[in-house]
């Protein structure tokens, strides 16, 4: 098992590496000067030159790339152009907020989605099932940031039930601030999880052992929860992995709508300010996230289905 995980981790390195290299060069080839962004519109030429030298921006591109890789090797992402802060500090400061949001959203999504899916599966082709279908289609069609904006306007601006921005401190403060953005992401994900639950439950319920259980006179409720759902949850793990990734990508826009700290907000701002080191740091974090979630999904698979292990 350990060997399998190690192999997969090593296998992920080229992915992250490729993405980073692409971002590194594309960013620098395009017009736009981080020195102007950092020093302001009225910076004088001498000052700009001095700044470029200090930040290593005057070196030839390949050399900059070597420096960048050398830094990466010792987990040094460099210094933000915009603030006198290490990129790692910025990332560590923002990462917990993004994780807080993602985890809360996925949990809410599961809590809402699984019962909906069960309901749809047990009432197949009847009203709950149709409603579920419509819900999932609409859930898919509404952009995260639009739903977020509506929730913000209604619940924070008009009703004043929730805070309008920021992240809060302490467990309850954090929860209070994370709820609305998390619900934004969760509503859409619950539609997906519900649909997936329905599909895998229907699949399981059609299997022999469930038929046997039914034939032996087990109650319908027992059949669904004891035999059906338990077995249906395993394929659902993939779905959960996918929703984590979906929530993560959605969090970028949602953090912006709710003006919440987080890696997404940090990344978007860095893009607008041409803060290369922070962009690179943000990209690495997101790429690692993706790789790890995919890896976790695969590991769950291995546990569930020994055949995969043999292949690995």
């Amino acid at each position: 098992m350990a060997r399998y995980i190690l192999a997969r981790l090593l296998g992920a390195i080229p992915t992250v590496f490729l993405v980073l290299t692409l971002v590194f060069f594309a960013m620098r080839i395009l017009p736009g000067d981080p020195a102007v962004a950092a020093l302001g519109d009225n910076a004088q030429p001498a000052q700009l030159a001095q700044y470029r030298a200090k930040m290593g921006l005057d070196a030839p591109l390949p050399l900059q790339y070597v420096h960048f890789l050398a830094g990466l090797a010792v987990l040094d992402f460099g210094q933000s152009f915009m603030s006198d802060t290490r990129v790692s500090t910025l990332l560590l400061h923002n990462l917990p907020y993004t994780i807080e949001l993602t985890v809360t959203a996925v949990l809410i999504g599961l809590v809402l989605g699984i019962p909906l899916g069960v309901l749809a599966a047990t009432h197949r082709n009847r009203l709950p099932d149709d409603a579920m279908r419509i819900y999932s289609l609409i859930g898919y069609a509404i952009p995260d940031f639009y739903l977020g904006a509506i929730l913000l306007v209604v619940f924070s601006l008009w009703l004043g039930w929730f805070p309008i921005n920021g992240a809060g401190t302490g467990f309850w403060g954090g929860l209070y601030h994370v709820i609305l953005p998390a619900i934004t992401l969760a509503l859409l994900k619950s539609a997906f999880i519900g649909r997936l639950t329905r599909a895998s439950l229907l699949d399981v319920l059609g299997r022999d052992y469930v038929r046997t259980a039914r034939a032996k006179g087990a109650g319908e409720r027992r059949v669904i929860y004891r035999h059906g759902l338990r077995n249906a949850l395993l394929p659902l793990s993939t779905g959960i992995g996918l929703s984590i990734l979906a929530t993560l990508s959605g969090s970028v826009a949602v953090e912006l709508v709710f003006n919440r700290p987080g890696v997404g907000q940090l990344l978007i701002e860095a893009i607008h300010q041409r803060d290369y080191p922070v962009i690179q740091g943000g990209v690495i974090i997101f790429a690692l996230f993706v790789v790890l979630v995919n890896l976790a999904m695969d590991i769950v698979y291995v546990f569930v289905d020994p055949r995969v292990r043999v292949q690995a």
């Binding site: 017009p31 736009g32 004088q44 004043g160 929730f162 809060g168 401190t169 309850w172 607008h272």
Partner: protein, 529 residues
């Protein structure tokens, strides 16, 4: 980023939150003033290193100048400056040596001792040697301590505006020499000055938290604590003010914003600097047909300044020449010779186009920054020029790409927005001198017009200005420069845009803001109720 919140209605959640380590809910915490600026987080609290305007706000509470004008304005002439860390000063007969007598007994923050001439010399020398405004101090040849409480500054050329051009500039605010040497790079986040407030904590992406300096030499700050917070998102910042999370905020300089927030909360105050940002439209003389005077005049007459002012009311004011009318060398409309008044007149613009050889107008490609303040000006101008037959094809780009293009001679009509002091020579040197000519390699200055290179400019007059020893002579020559620029029209003053702060109904600043830099003191502020 702001994390505070207000009791918003759900008593249950809020009570639970307070009970369990959440920040205390603030109803009206009358001893803390919270100000939010439009940036994502503090970069530094060292006034010689600030690169974003927002950081000057906390610097202005922490550090002080040798001399400064009354709160709430620039010093527009030498008599406007009042003693601060210096109690008096005198100028030598040739106007090249300025001697300052320092205030005695001034204590630095957190027990860093008394301020002496050494600290002042150090503060000046470090601004001349490095930092964000080195070129501004090029005229200084030496700064020497001539006693424990006396400092002499010698200049290469006389400078009647010295108090405004050097003394009242943030880079030479007085820092503790000992503290800076001890702390090194950390000085930026743990600064030691003499101002009424000292730094308690400097938190990235959040803000700078200050408390009253107990040993302040002057009248103590009225609020016990200050928070200089950062909320980049304009909607979130506005909401924070409306909900009472913060007491003051950097306003959003967008059309209609003031009216909208007034509609949501009554009693808000708006502090505005006049003029605030200069908005200057540079005609790139190397891009035909902008090399023709008639075409430049046509564009000037096609721009309806009043429409721009109205769109941004009450933050915008008309400007009739390069410098705004309330600056030493600026002109009011009626003071200008009739032929130099660039009034909005479509018929005249069309006639000038015809005289310039383009009776049917022309098309021109213009680069535009996506930053909202630039974008809205360009959009308005595009619309106005369309009415006289000039079709402006805007290509919108990232703000730094825009500046990069401007600096590499890739733009045609360049707008530059900047908050400039009433120091005429500084403005001319920056925008109109041939030495500031913008070049294709991007290493030149901000004379985006190539004035003085492609068209005889004002270099000789500037040299004359540099030799004047009295303020009156200085202004007299300066006004000639102003008129020559208006006649040649390589650049055009667009309406100015005030830097604006919105203030809660119960917040009293303690003085009226009329002008000055885009940051001011909170030492006299109080919160009532």
């Amino acid at each position: 980023m702001i994390t505070r919140r207000k009791l918003l209605g759900t008593a249950a959640i809020a009570t639970a939150a307070t009970g369990l380590g959440a920040p205390t809910v603030r109803a009206a915490n009358a001893d803390t003033l919270k100000f939010a600026s439009a940036a994502s987080g503090p970069r530094t609290a060292d006034p010689n290193r600030t690169t974003q305007g927002a950081d000057n706000w906390h610097c202005a509470q922490i550090f002080e100048y040798l001399a400064s004008p009354e709160d709430g304005d620039f010093g527009k002439q030498p008599g406007d400056f009042k003693p601060a860390l210096a109690t008096s000063w005198k100028t030598s007969a040739d106007g090249k040596t300025w001697t300052f007598a320092l205030r005695q007994g001034v204590q630095f923050h957190k027990g860093h001792g008394e301020m002496t001439a050494d600290d002042v010399v150090h503060s000046f020398m470090r601004a001349k040697a490095g930092g964000t405004a080195v070129s501004n101090y090029a005229n200084i040849t030496s700064v020497k301590a001539s006693g424990k409480y006396e400092v002499a500054v010698t200049l290469q050329n006389p400078d009647p505006m010295f108090l405004g051009s050097v003394i009242f500039t943030k880079n030479v605010m007085v820092v503790s020499k000992k503290a800076e040497e001890e702390k090194g790079d950390k000085f930026g986040t743990d600064p030691i000055g003499t101002g009424p407030y000292q730094v308690d904590s400097f938190e990235i992406q959040k803000g700078v938290f200050l408390s009253r300096h107990p040993q302040y030499w002057g009248e103590a700050g009225r609020m016990a604590k200050l928070q200089c917070l950062y909320i980049a998102d304009s909607t979130a910042r506005t909401l924070a003010l409306l909900s009472g999370d913060i007491d003051m905020m950097e306003a959003v300089r967008a059309p209609g914003w003031i009216q909208q927030v007034q509609g949501r909360k009554s009693g808000l105050h708006f502090d505005m600097t006049a003029p605030g940002s200069f908005n200057t439209l540079f005609f790139n003389l190397s891009k035909p047909p902008l090399d023709r005077l008639e075409i430049r005049q046509a564009i000037a007459h096609a721009i309806d300044a009043k429409a721009i002012v109205q769109a941004l009311t009450p933050m915008s004011r008309e400007t009739y020449t390069l410098n705004p009318p309330n600056y030493p060398t600026g002109f009011a409309h009626d003071d200008l010779p009739a032929e130099l008044r660039l009034d909005y007149d479509q018929a005249k613009a069309k006639a000038l186009l015809k005289a310039g050889g383009f009776p049917n107008g022309f098309k021109i490609n213009v680069n535009v920054s996506q930053r909202p303040d630039y974008r809205s000006q360009y959009l308005i101008i595009q619309e106005l020029l369309r009415k006289v037959g000039i079709e402006v094809n805007l290509s919108i780009m990232d703000h730094t790409a825009y500046h990069d293009a401007n600096r590499r001679n890739l733009n045609t009509l360049t707008i530059n927005s900047s908050s400039l002091p009433p120091v005429p020579l500084y403005v001319y040197d920056l925008y109109a001198a041939s030495g500031a000519n913008m070049t294709e390699d991007g290493k030149g200055g901000q004379n985006y017009s190539h004035y003085g290179v492609l068209l005889p400019g004002v270099d000789d007059l500037l040299k004359q200005m540099l030799q004047t020893t009295s303020f009156d002579d200085y202004v007299k020559v300066g006004r000639q420069v102003e008129l020559k620029i208006q006649r040649d029209l390589p650049m055009l003053g667009l309406p100015t845009l005030s830097y604006t702060v919105a203030r809660g109904p119960n917040v009293d600043l303690g003085y009226e803001v009329k002008g000055g830099y885009a940051y001011w003191s909170f030492a006299k502020a109080t919160i009532t109720g």
